[in-house]
Symmetry: C2
Subunit: 440 residues, 2 copies
């Protein structure tokens, strides 16, 4: 397949280029004046071509819980709302939820995602394939230090590592968290929750990381989302979470840690030294009132690979990465009382090239040789004038500006129409799933 | 004129009603099953009808400075970027900037606004009339304690109080601030800026408030946006800003104070007692790194009329009130470490009925007798499922969902097409203005 975008403003790593963008098979072949003939020709006149956004931490299986039990204190929300409803989810609900998430992602310019899920991931792989998304998908190990549960997961989960096409959609290995807290939202039963501080056992963290390394896969884990969790790890292991995970060999360039809202300076330096990827989810963290600030400016300076995620729609309540970029910048400026901290160029890198690196794809930038994940933006009144293209993308743009999306060289949305999924049917199916679960 | 919206989910103050909404002249006439014949019939099937959003603090004249001099420290941004460019603005630039702002407002579901401007406001009134917006518009008094300047403004500004149609568009009186700080962005010359702490004289604040009362107009002023400003007022007046303004009789139900990021508990109680309107601008305050948190939850509980604004595009960089609603909620939850503080219902009230009250219009709610400012939202994938309609509006919706806008009973946007302005021409004209200013 080949695509030719004519006459656009192409945002390359070296600045904006006015011209064409040509993709061949799944790769960007040329930028500038392109005379190639292509299967799909898209008129980019007046539009901006930018790299697709990468959502480096999300939970698509929970998308149908958006707004369910809103504005409750965390404990009541979990115990009375999320756990009971989650326990009733069937595989078909998970697939429906994922398809809805992918429609939302495409409409908001997201081309790749990193998923963590507590259930079998087959339905998510299938839905993502259908949507034409790029991503890494894991079913989390989570044993509550229960050897029986650990054995069962060690039997079941490796099978899911065979899912995917090995190209755009890859499995990854994940452990839920050294200790969980606001991510209790993922725990299936109240009974289990009473065992807090519940944990993945050290053994399962080690075994899962080993499995990832053996298979050459990325490794995901929630770390230091809440203060309680840091306290619990300290109490049990005598170390801060990053230090603990480093001491057992889990922290390296192939690990993607989510959240990091409560890191010490020493952990930040350690994260940088190990080159770990860190997915900051500012909207979800603020909404759940976890209190901590992921010091992404410092993590970035230390050498960590900072990327951005929305977290799930249950806690965000949106998968809009434009919003996440802006809120990430706002939160750093607010926290440090410094308007010039975290310039918009950095934020855009976090959400594109850094995200792609965290997921293990050679994408996230518009230059020849890179994987062809391209988003076209229409300049609405919210994007005029254009004193600064990147500022307009990070601080002013939104899903309303996204018109076309190409993933892996394949047009998946053209002229605001999703080509890969029947959007209306997806929305109806998701609504039905949500209603059915409530009736169960 | 009459409009009939058929078969929508109508969000009334008592909850959602499935049915029709009928407007006659400029007023909502009926909600439910409406058999009236109307000039305009809009199919609301699958859509949500909600009250138009009210942007209670903005600077439309500065819209063409969006993204100019991005991510600089405040002082450099002002001295090297904003002041020089602002000094070159002509009346035609202000009108072009305003028209661009109104296109952006309509596309993001904003039907009314409160403007503060340092220049003659005629062009803004004309542009707003053309767009079909509702609003109050002021040229600020700002004398730097210079009696000559004060006299001149007292000669010039009252003339602008005759502008407007007295119905949808009304003048208001404004003083810039008891002391200014980050709003130095509005000051025309560096020379004047060197006189910091520059202030509106007490005399001009008193005279301008008197003028507002005599004319029965709303009164706007920036108060306690920055810590420096609070310090300066304390030093000069021996009182905190709200207490100082109260002591000179400026704080009442007809005053609209913007920002309020650095209030003491005593000032919050006083604001409540006086029933002052307080426009919180969370995005701009975070982006400018002013550090303070407007404690709107406490102000609301104390009895103040809390409303929301975007501030200008130069500091926001957007006029999207959906974003402002969400960020306002996030910031309170984050600040208080409390997920259930400021529920979404409250936030929506702040952005609708409270905003309308602050501006002095009987609008902001869909019920018979209210002014007919109505916005239709299409439920995209970001608004499914609908466990909670208001949560979806506040936390998940965005300009991408806005399809139709009715202001004062008149359709101004239908099927995502702005009917009152030539949007393409407006964008081109704004770009030209911005480019021309840079060349001057």
């Amino acid at each position: 397949m080949s695509v030719l975008i004519k006459n656009a403003t192409v945002l390359t790593p070296r600045g904006a280029v006015h011209g064409d963008l040509f993709t061949e098979a799944n790769t960007i072949a040329a930028i500038g004046r392109c005379r190639e003939r292509a299967e799909h020709v898209i008129d980019g006149t007046g539009k901006i071509a930018m790299p697709g956004l990468v959502n480096a931490h999300t939970h698509v299986a929970m998308n149908i819980f958006r707004g369910y039990g809103e504005d409750l204190p965390l404990t009541r929300w979990l115990e009375e709302k999320i756990w009971p409803i989650e326990a009733k989810q069937k595989p078909s609900d998970i697939a429906a939820s994922a398809r809805l998430a992918f429609c939302e992602m495409l409409r908001s310019g997201t081309t790749a995602f990193a998923e963590m899920c507590l259930f079998d991931t087959k339905g998510i792989f299938t839905a993502a394939k259908q949507a034409g998304m790029r991503g890494i998908i894991s079913r989390c190990f989570l044993d509550f230090e229960d050897p029986g549960r650990m054995k069962q997961q060690l039997r079941e989960i490796p099978g899911s590592l065979e899912y995917g096409d090995g190209a755009t959609l890859r499995p990854s290995v994940a452990a839920h968290a050294p200790y969980t807290c606001s991510e209790e939202i993922l725990i299936r039963s109240k009974e289990l929750a009473r065992k807090r501080p519940y944990a993945c056992s050290e053994e399962i963290i080690l075994k899962s990381k080993e499995l990832a390394q053996k298979k050459g896969l990325k490794y995901q884990i929630h770390v230091s989302e809440t203060r309680q969790e840091v306290f619990d790890v300290m109490k049990k292991r005598g170390k801060y979470p990053y230090e603990y995970l480093d001491s057992i060999g889990v922290m390296d360039k192939d690990s993607l840690f989510a959240h990091g809202g409560w890191l010490t300076k020493r952990e930040i330096l350690l994260g940088g030294k190990r080159g770990v990827s860190m997915a900051h989810c500012p909207v979800s963290s603020m909404k759940l009132a976890t209190g901590g600030i992921a010091q992404i400016t410092e993590l970035d300076a230390a050498g960590a690979n900072v990327c951005l995620g929305t977290d799930g729609s249950a806690s965000n309540n949106s998968l809009d990465m434009f919003q996440t970029m802006k809120v990430a910048a706002l939160l750093q400026k607010h926290h440090y009382w410094q308007a010039d901290i975290l310039p918009c160029r950095k934020v855009l890198d976090f959400a594109t090239v850094n995200g792609a690196k965290a997921l293990g794809f050679d994408a996230g930038a518009l230059e020849p040789g890179k994987l062809a994940d391209v988003v076209l933006l229409e300049r609405g009144p919210n994007m005029h004038p254009e004193h600064d293209l990147i500022s307009n993308i990070v601080y002013a743009a939104g899903p309303q500006n996204v018109t076309d999306v190409i993933i892996d060289g394949r047009p998946v949305m053209l002229g605001r129409e999703i080509l890969t999924l029947d959007e209306k049917a997806v929305m109806e199916e998701a609504d039905r799933s949500a209603a059915d679960i409530l009736r169960r």
